[in-house]
């Protein structure tokens, strides 16, 4: 005989439940047959979740001195909070309330009224048996550190950092390159408005660099992340620049005097040169240069020091002895905006990239037509002088292709149209676009397509088979010939051009998996970070306190990237304003006396919540790190680990209750307390 006083409440949900389950019968049955299990009152009501329904429960708690409540209604995901709050209002600990889902799991999925009613009764018996083992619990309150870490200084990260910093909260912006700006800083124009990318980006970069609330950590990488939502401790490796940021004025004399020229594979995409002491581009933020030790004469041969000799600052800004620094920062929330890698078109050898000189990647072309780029904006062939008379632009290179990436990179159609327009405008060349489908969704994009069509750009629908320099027909000599099936006319065509641009796919960062693991978030098999919900929670992740923005989550254009950066910032700001976060008190804990120190549980936890005390040979669980999955509880061979709200006693009791009678409703087992 249970000592608890249980109230059972069966909801009609209008006719949603009552049309299949005989709710009146269930309530009468519960009061009579479950009396031994502690049921002292059982009622049915039209809408339990209405204020009148809730008052019914609250009044009973007070009048009948209920110590436990079972509500048989809809899914707990819908109304558990409602009924817990009602219990709380009546002075009963909210965690002493259990919900039984007789709508989603009975009336909506079953048709036989008798069998459905039997099942509802069994489920209520399970709920009653379980609820007597519930413990009063208090939610865990964790304070939220108002500082935020933003990883990645591309446009997504910059936007997020600025939004948070402008609201008055501190931000650490970590960027692995010497400057913030990301891919956008390399672009010439942005579609569909043809704004100059630098003109709209650099003011934001300067804002971020000068913002009193933003601590810029460029040429830095996150090494380690410890802690949990509200209280992360992040270790950042600040790589040695060999330039003292505290004294350098960014005058650039060291760069001027450096005698070593290096092909810039990074920012200039291999088209231009930089020095061994360099900043990627003149408007770099921060303005301090970096010494590239692999190419610096001093680091290679111990001689030169031209930069140091000519540095005008006092004390000298060049410090060859600088070492990597490890900085620990405390933050409450983290936004990951680590961006994308460009697909390497060498993987498609038939397109000739890397073999045929005048095949360019989209990023190379961006640099080529950028006024600040290696050719000062002249669109020329690899020889640096010849203007192309005809240009072929190939879409979907590495996207929408089962051999490489199934997905659509989303931006390439618009990017290719932009290229077509720029080539046409600046060289007057014939332009051919080779596409599979033209995808120009979103604001003003299709209008741009129409405009490019009117400009006389040729469009050929079909996937390019090959780009070759082997001429077969007159007129093809010295040209790159694009072999393609024009699917509109159903014929093979060979189109000779001077220049080919490959619109390469956006890919997840090569180290995306590693990064995801470091931050404890999920990553798709491809390598895109997985958001909490693809539609309704696009910037949060399954890990509390960690948000994603920009291309790290999937390929997207600049407007969507900026929107996500701002959205992630808004989510973080909401969290910061709360100051404190209440977490469900579903946690595992170790009963030390029972722990044999076998350490079986130690490897079970992906959140590193389990600590083993070597001295006492016992395991302990850090409740702040524990997420409550219960895997260690199930693993413990000595039953030394208990999990609140999902204890073994609760589940065992629920099993017994559920098996009180069979499908036909015949009693198959005497109840435990009977």
């Amino acid at each position: 005989m249970s000592e608890e006083r249980v109230g059972v409440y069966v909801c009609h949900c209008g006719s949603n439940i009552a049309s299949v389950v005989n709710v009146e019968d269930v309530a009468v049955w519960a009061k009579e047959e479950l009396a031994d299990q502690g049921v002292v009152v059982a009622r049915d009501y039209k809408f339990m979740c209405s204020s009148l329904g809730q008052e019914l429960i609250q009044d009973d708690i007070k009048e009948h001195g209920l110590t436990r409540v079972v509500v048989a209604a809809c899914s707990p995901h819908l109304h558990e909070k409602t009924f817990r709050t009602a219990c709380n209002r009546a002075g009963l600990n909210p965690f002493l309330c259990e919900m039984v889902s007789v709508r989603e799991q009975v009336s909506w999925v079953h048709t036989d009224k008798e069998l459905a009613t039997n099942k509802a009764k069994a489920m209520i018996a399970g709920g009653v048996e379980r609820v007597v083992h519930h413990q009063p619990l208090e939610p865990l309150h964790v304070p939220i550190n108002p500082a935020t870490l933003v990883v990645g200084g591309g446009i997504a990260g910059i936007q997020a950092a600025l939004e948070i910093a402008d609201s008055g909260f501190p931000v650490y912006l970590v960027e692995r390159e010497p400057t913030i700006g990301g891919h956008m800083a390399q672009f010439d124009k942005t579609f569909p408005t043809l704004d100059c990318a630098a003109c709209i980006l650099t003011p934001k970069m300067v804002d971020a660099g000068a913002h009193p609330n933003i601590t810029l950590l460029t040429w830095s990488e996150v090494e380690r992340v410890d802690g949990f939502v509200g209280n992360f401790t992040v270790t950042v490796r600040k790589k040695a620049r060999y330039v003292r940021e505290d004294v350098c004025t960014g005058c650039g004399i060291c760069i001027e005097k450096c005698p070593v020229k290096v092909l810039d594979q990074n920012f200039e995409a291999g088209l231009g040169y930089r020095k061994a002491v360099y900043r990627p581009f003149p408007q770099a933020v921060p303005k301090y240069p970096v010494i590239d030790t692999e190419n610096c004469t001093y680091f290679k041969r111990g001689k030169c020091k031209a930069c140091q000799i000519f540095c005008p600052t006092q004390p000298n800004s060049i410090d060859f002895e600088q070492k990597d620094q490890f900085i620990q920062i405390q933050v409450g929330n983290i936004i990951l905006a680590t961006g994308y890698d460009l697909f390497d078109p060498r993987r498609i050898p038939q397109y000739g990239y890397g073999r045929l000189a005048n095949v360019f990647t989209s990023l190379e072309f961006e640099r080529l037509c950028n006024a600040a780029g290696p050719t000062n904006g002249d669109i020329v062939l690899r020889d640096g002088v010849t203007k192309p008379k005809s240009v072929g632009i190939i879409h979907c290179v590495g996207s929408r292709d089962r051999r490489y990436n199934n997905y659509c990179s989303g931006i390439c159609c618009m990017q290719s149209l932009k290229f077509a327009h720029l080539v046409k405008e600046r060289t007057g060349a014939d332009v051919y676009n080779f596409y599979i489908d033209m995808r120009t969704a979103y604001k003003d994009y299709d209008e741009f397509y129409q405009k490019v069509l009117e400009e006389g750009v040729h469009f050929v629908r079909g996937r390019v088979a090959e780009v070759t320099d082997a001429a077969r027909k007159p007129g093809e000599e010295g040209k790159l010939i694009i072999q393609v099936e024009d699917t509109f006319i159903g014929k093979q065509r060979r189109i000779p051009v001077d220049m080919v641009i490959l619109s390469a796919a956006l890919q997840p960062r090569a180290d995306a998996n590693e990064v995801a693991q470091k931050f404890g978030i999920a990553c798709s098999t491809k390598g895109w970070f997985i958001e909490k919900h693809p539609k309704l929670d696009p910037v949060a992740t399954m890990t509390e306190g960690i948000y994603v923005a920009g291309c790290a989550q999937g390929p997207k254009d600049i407007p969507s990237t900026v929107a996500q950066g701002a959205a992630a910032a808004a989510r973080v700001l909401g969290r910061i304003q709360m100051q404190e976060l209440a977490l469900e008190p579903i946690r595992a804990s170790v009963i030390e006396e029972k722990c044999s120190g076998c350490r079986i549980c130690n490897d079970m936890c992906p959140f590193n919540a389990i600590i083993f005390h070597e001295d006492r040979m016992v395991t302990e669980i850090n409740p702040a790190l524990c997420q409550g999955c219960g895997t260690c509880v199930a693993a413990c061979p000595s039953n030394a680990i208990t999990g609140t709200q999902f204890s073994t006693e609760q589940i065992m009791a629920q099993i017994e209750g559920l098996l009180m009678f069979n499908v036909e409703g015949e009693l198959i087992r005497e109840m435990a307390y009977a």
Binding site: W108, P606, C629, A634, I651, I655, L659
Partner: protein
């Protein structure tokens, strides 16, 4: 008159994040499955202690269904893999007891797969129905301690 069809009793364990939500979705989309299944919510399939299954089978269930997030989609990163390991061990243990391992089944279902979960549950009910009632009397001696299978093996050996 046709003989009454055997109605198996099945306990299903669901994870809070995927399969329980799939069950919710099955309800919301009014997908139908037989009322032979009674579900229990766990936070994660990783919480699935094989003892729960044994307890259910011992207490009158004819089958047990374990459900969780698809591999790689676990809310707790990787705990469903641990559930998978325990499930495989559990099936082996059951076999040693002389119980058809098919009485315990594993279904991965994401929160979006309400209809699929309903189909899988229906299939599971039919297949467990085909196995017939779980009869401990054929497996365990009357005192409930010794598995009969072992006794039988001893006889053969002798």
């Amino acid at each position: 008159m046709a003989e009454k069809q055997f109605e198996p009793l099945i306990i299903g364990f669901t994870c809070n994040w995927c399969s329980y939500r799939a069950a919710d979705l099955a309800g919301m989309s009014r997908a139908k499955y037989p009322p032979n299944i009674r579900l229990i919510r766990l936070m994660c399939s990783g919480r699935m202690d094989p003892e729960f299954a044994l307890k259910a089978l011992r207490s009158g269930a004819d089958g047990v269904i374990i459900t969780g997030c698809h591999p790689g989609e676990c809310h707790y990163l990787e705990q469903n893999y641990k559930a998978l390991r325990r499930y495989l061990l559990l099936r082996r243990t059951l076999k040693q007891f002389g119980i058809e391992p098919e009485r315990v089944r594993l279904i991965w279902a994401s929160a979006a797969e309400g209809a699929r979960l309903a189909q899988e549950l229906t299939k599971a009910v039919e297949e467990i129905r085909a196995l017939g009632p779980l009869s401990w009397h054929n497996v365990v001696a009357a005192d409930g301690d010794r598995p009969l299978e072992l006794q039988h093996l001893e006889e053969v050996a002798a």
